[in-house]
Subunit: 136 residues, 2 copies
């Protein structure tokens, strides 16, 4: 990944930040699956390697998309959470889900979720946002 | 890029198809910028290399996202166009634009476009879709 963006075209800009494909999967785990701990993030179905996970988390932290803080319950552990900038990815993720659900015959997207998405997009976004909001 | 998807999680599925970041930029040029010819696609601001362009186009064609046909006006040239599956990416691209416009201070997204997107998302999607529809 290069240091600066290739261009400030808004599509290119986002792809430069997330174009490595692991970063957006981590945001999925943080936002939609509520994962907060390194070891839980390591256990995604897609099998991320630990060095890639550490690199992507630190990159996302530098970009202001993820925060890292000590776990109050276990001082040797960290908790990762999406920032406001990270949470703003929810509508984009929902569009990704909708597109894949329409075109992947083996999709794991649940019918209930897709129904809800169709019937009450804004309500669903608000709900996911609230659930994913970092605890204060 | 591996041969099969890493998982059928709908987010992972899309990232496997477009996660190399050039593919979605090509879809931007085909859908939002109306490019149809190889040499025009080669001239994107981000500077794609010709071997990568050829590879990504052939991959998108295999995935049923892009069609390739001979240019009736110049039999030695091809015209590339998004399929229905490709055009279904429009809402996702609009979310990418919105996110980057909110978080990139140097964004090139125009205020007029963003205003329109906010005020009349569905109308804008229909208009882009109509403009990008492959000529019959």
């Amino acid at each position: 990944m290069r240091s600066g963006p290739r261009s400030h075209c808004p599509i290119s800009y986002l792809l430069d930040l997330f174009g490595d494909s692991w970063s957006l999967l981590l945001m999925r785990d943080l936002i939609l699956n509520g994962k907060r701990r390194y070891k839980d993030l390591l256990e995604s179905e897609e099998g991320i390697a630990t060095n890639i996970l550490a690199d992507r988390l630190s990159r996302l932290e530098k970009q202001g998309i993820v925060t890292k803080r000590r776990d109050p319950g276990n001082k040797r552990q960290y908790l990762y959470a999406p920032t406001a900038k990270g949470l703003d990815l929810i509508p984009l993720m929902l569009e990704m889900i909708q597109w894949s659900a329409s075109h992947d015959p083996d999709t794991t997207a649940s019918r209930g979720f897709l129904r809800r998405l169709k019937a009450d997009r804004e309500g669903l976004i608000a709900e996911i946002r609230e659930r994913a909001e970092p605890a204060q």
